[in-house]
Assembly symmetry: C2
Homo-oligomer: 325 residues x 2
């Protein structure tokens, strides 16, 4: 995490590629009792970031697709370019770069959209310029990028999107991220209903203080969820997916929440909960078949409530971002 | 945990033993972030409980050793006999039993003294009468016994003393206890200073409400401690042994607390913290040698502060109570 400030010598431009296209995965954060501390990466959806050299010496956003015009072209406002700029400034690199962002996921979905863009940005430029920075080194810059969207440094989406896997962020000072092994047959169903939940609003409704029994319960479920993941005990994972901080408040934005959870139980799902600050929900399953069935059954419920809905079925992405071409 | 209320048929008295002596281990609860939810059993100290049949049909306390006259002979007040009575009444058993309690550990030490007596009581009588009750079945009665001392049902000493090992008590309704594997070379040093800390007083000084960041930190350290135990990562265990609920308040009863922690760090200990509500402290080490060195060095510090002190070095007791003869 601590980065040597030595200027990296950039090799001759001809030796390396002129452009690169990468995929950076969406992620689920606030995993039940893991409010602000746990997250995991998905195989889909995710963002595609295209980075190419230009001769202007400037960092620019060339095009943005799939955002319905919502994302800023100002490189000091867009999470991808803020992250890249943080990295370029750190290493005193002045190569001109054009960025094209293809949002393959909803903005404000609760699936770590801004984190995926920030991660995709630094991962792409690291590859484009052959900087050979480690993921530990990329992390800080991706966090700086994501902070422009969320207003604070949060690693629970950025870190899973960058490192892959199921991560526990124990502390920030210094940052302490622990990769938790997960059962290999664990599948995740994502339900993304067409409801706008503003992150700022979702934060505002959370209580500021909690009684000691809630602290104890949250710590108990957090430890138990980690134990369930290590031991592959699906029933324990299911029992532990309870959040005392935000779940009961944020569920009020999601009129179908109880019905989704009831249906999940009926279908033997490993429990459902809210992804990030919503509106997306995630549910674990013991197999791809179960996860697929869950996706179609839960989709029906949301449609019945009159909301459009997208679903995704994914294992836990252990890789993080990858080069597409 | 749920117990069949069928009356157990007691076999003819002559077929089985007339007396039994058992050992029930002390335990460390409130393990750093595991306030009210984690505990582990020790090889020493512990209580010895001697149970023998009598012909009066009564449950009686015959003798109590090692308690300096502090423990009650009233069977409705003593944790051992309250636990036994709960069991005898549940199964409608009217065999007369005399109990002798040999306290081999301090009362009010923060090492689960009342839990050990309750566990020893039910374990001894289960053996004496050959009831063949499982530990799951014994648990409820031991909890009832311990409750007479602590004023509430707490499993974080009773469960480790009964089942052995490092346990996480996720929930009470229904009770959900998870055994956590521990590194095989993990040793525990206990420092028991001669200071009286009343559990009721130690509870009273704890804040009633906590800011959301403390809830998040406690949950993060709880999950991280469990991850450290599963993976055998001593450094992670060490970093996670922080409590946001009681540690900073209760440390005020222990003037040598900071010095103990500093010395622990100097000696490469896997961190120190308060056992139960104190005054005992526990520290993890990576080997028996380290744990022994720690015991003698930490003892000096407490003596220098003018308090008498006992020390114990123990692995995590994986067995729970055992029959002595």
């Amino acid at each position: 995490m601590y980065i040597d400030t030595t200027v990296i010598k950039i090799p001759e431009i001809d030796m390396f590629r002129d452009s690169v296209k990468v995929f950076a995965p969406a992620s689920v954060s606030n995993v039940g009792p893991g409010f602000d501390i746990m997250g995991f990466a998905l195989d889909e959806p995710g963002d595609e970031i295209f980075a190419e050299r230009n001769n202007t010496g400037q960092l620019r956003i060339k095009e943005i697709f799939g955002d319905d015009g919502k994302l800023p072209f100002d490189i000091n406002q867009n999470t991808a370019t803020v992250a890249i700029k943080s990295m370029l400034e750190k290493y005193k690199i002045d190569t001109g770069i054009d960025i094209t962002i293809d949002k393959k996921m909803g903005i404000g979905s609760g699936l770590g959209s801004s984190a995926a863009s920030a991660v995709g940005g630094v991962f792409a430029v690291n590859e484009l310029l052959d900087l050979k920075l480690s993921k530990d080194e990329l992390l800080l810059h991706a966090l700086n990028g994501e902070a422009v969207a969320s207003g604070a440094i949060h690693a629970d989406n950025v870190a899973p999107s960058l490192f892959g896997g199921f991560l526990l962020v124990r502390d920030y000072n210094p940052i302490d991220i622990i990769k938790i092994p997960t059962p290999k047959d664990l599948y995740c169903t994502i339900i993304y209903p067409d409801i706008v939940v503003k992150t700022s609003e979702a934060r505002k409704i959370i209580d500021k203080f909690f009684p000691v029994k809630d602290v104890v319960t949250q710590a108990g479920n957090s430890g138990a969820l980690i134990a369930g993941l290590y031991s592959g005990d699906y029933d324990l994972i299911s029992r532990s997916l309870v959040d005392k901080i935000a779940e009961h408040k944020r569920a009020s934005f999601l009129p179908f929440y109880d019905d989704i959870r009831d249906k999940g139980k009926e279908l033997n799902a490993v429990n459902c909960n809210i992804s990030g600050s919503g509106p997306s929900l995630f549910s674990f399953s013991r197999s791809l078949d179960e996860a697929d069935t869950l996706a179609s059954e839960l989709k029906k419920i949301v449609l019945d409530y009159g909301f459009d809905v997208k679903t995704y079925v994914s294992q836990i992405n252990q890789e993080g971002p990858r080069i597409l071409d």
